[in-house]
Symmetry: C3
Amino acid sequence: MNIQPVDFSGVYAANALQNLRNTAPLVHCLTNDVVQSFTANVLLAVGASPAMVVDPTEAAQFATIADALLVNVGTLTLPHADAIRAAVQAANRAGKPWVLDPVAVGGLTLRTEFCLELIKLRPAAIRGNASEILALSGMSASGRGVDSGDNALSALPAARLLAKQTGAIVAVTGDVDYVTEGERCLAVSGGDALMTRVVGTGCALSAVVAAFVALPGDRLENVAAACRVMSCAGELACQQTRGPGSFIPAFLDNLYLLDQEALA
Amino acid sequence: MNIQPVDFSGVYAANALQNLRNTAPLVHCLTNDVVQSFTANVLLAVGASPAMVVDPTEAAQFATIADALLVNVGTLTLPHADAIRAAVQAANRAGKPWVLDPVAVGGLTLRTEFCLELIKLRPAAIRGNASEILALSGMSASGRGVDSGDNALSALPAARLLAKQTGAIVAVTGDVDYVTEGERCLAVSGGDALMTRVVGTGCALSAVVAAFVALPGDRLENVAAACRVMSCAGELACQQTRGPGSFIPAFLDNLYLLDQEALA
Amino acid sequence: MNIQPVDFSGVYAANALQNLRNTAPLVHCLTNDVVQSFTANVLLAVGASPAMVVDPTEAAQFATIADALLVNVGTLTLPHADAIRAAVQAANRAGKPWVLDPVAVGGLTLRTEFCLELIKLRPAAIRGNASEILALSGMSASGRGVDSGDNALSALPAARLLAKQTGAIVAVTGDVDYVTEGERCLAVSGGDALMTRVVGTGCALSAVVAAFVALPGDRLENVAAACRVMSCAGELACQQTRGPGSFIPAFLDNLYLLDQEALA
């Protein structure tokens, strides 16, 4: 029988964020074309160092220098797949953690087959919405692109299965985020529906997960801390703004200014 | 003899926008590298769902799932051209409308030949500035990149000719936008010169046109509604800001908050 | 013996900016995937005209039409390298100046070899941080991606050497920017540490350098003017904002509104 989800502690998140700011992990991002700038700005605001190095041979070189690798298949092409393979293999050889964001997996053949190949290569974490986690676990697929038609809680059994299959921490995100290693599960609240009206909030969260899995400490809690940092900054930004346009600068400012008090 | 342009009705625009928000059309964007994030944020703010799927085989799969397809040749390469061809053919087979933004057509060989190939494939709409519409119709070309040296009204005969040649609704945009199906022509006012100091406002308009051509009703009026929604939000944003930087968040907020009163 | 750096005159910067706004140079940008939109918006805000044309044959055509070319190797791939080679050769044949931003050169093989090839092709200017200029001159390399671990002043001997080797104006940027043609050297102050928490400020500066090298007058002073315009707008924006998110729109607004008084 599975253990019930436990509310995640804001104190842990605050300590992990302090740790991240002290060490500024270098995150190698192989992400989609749409969110590159926003992803880099989110990582910079939170205190990490982003770098996008995309040529296959350079990606393999850089994966050994970086502290963590993000793989996002949102605008996958065959050349990108080559760079991702090379970077993941190099990261694994160098003992560097890597994170998978399986954008819109399920309905489209190339990315679905590629993600099924990638999850055999020991990702440290996988972050997706409910329909993506359902599709990747083999339990279901809704497949209307990046918008999840499913509820995060409904995908928790799939997240647990996927964690057991792959050895990864799996985060299924939505109104509440659930982070699991198979048995243990943390529930992270916060955020706001307005965040779904801004492109790249989910993709940027996966990049922040990559930054946090580079930290020492309990990896399950570190992934939950990434989710909490983003949901907390998002919630604050929504209180300060009137639409998705002003949300973006406010969100980055809040990530930059986020302190222990806000997180706890 | 051609019918004189008629001022477009704000009431129709308001109803079309409500219709769009109720149905949230899924817009498949094959657009240029520079404006991907802004285009996605504009579509989300207005109430549509963007998705960028760029591998040729996936693009063909996705074109049949999406409600409309946007093709923009701003940073065309040979691999992108393959993806565009595959997506357009799949959209046509599935009966889904597609929109062409012929960025900087006229002066550069690859995109000019490709756009002349594309307009034979029955686009539902074509959106460009005066020099692009002149070049595409065969009537002229100024060719200093994306900035139009010509006036929209001066390109109206070219727009009418292009509409008759292709069967598409043609929107030639500038200080005033003119939308024509060959005979009938609607004039859409609004906007502000500051919008030309922000990259991607024209490209994003073409994506919004794709969202509106997915709606039922008169296609000529739907394309005009897309132009009016953008010019209205742009005008409001310019009144609220002091430069092109603060224009961007204000524009997205206004798109998100736009109501019947503002449009009428 | 080298001449000591001289403080750059704000009056020259103001005149050069006015000249740029009057002529609106068309800048052909072959830059990295992460900063395309920000780069275009910076060029538009400052008064130049950006255009991204990336296919090798079109890039060669467009390099002869544009007033200057920017080459940035941040997300270099082999196809991008082909387009860059074609554009640089065409620009040289047409007598158009081009600028190199050697992002993260030193640690990664493909871009390092490619940049060493490029600097033989007579760039008008090279803009990099200390570690990039050290690496490119052959004097050193730190190589932790885009963040420079070195101080701009410490790289001034390398900048002078590189200027003499290549014939380019070399700008090594940091807390203070140093711009040299080998002997003469101008020091440009201003800016703020917050600018390093926003992706693309350095890359956009290189694009603005390309716009300024298209102007008549002393090229050394024109490159320094580009640095001063950016550091002045950045400083003003930092005074008006509370974090990196609100910095971005404020920075673009300040570039757009910058006047003689602020620069002097």
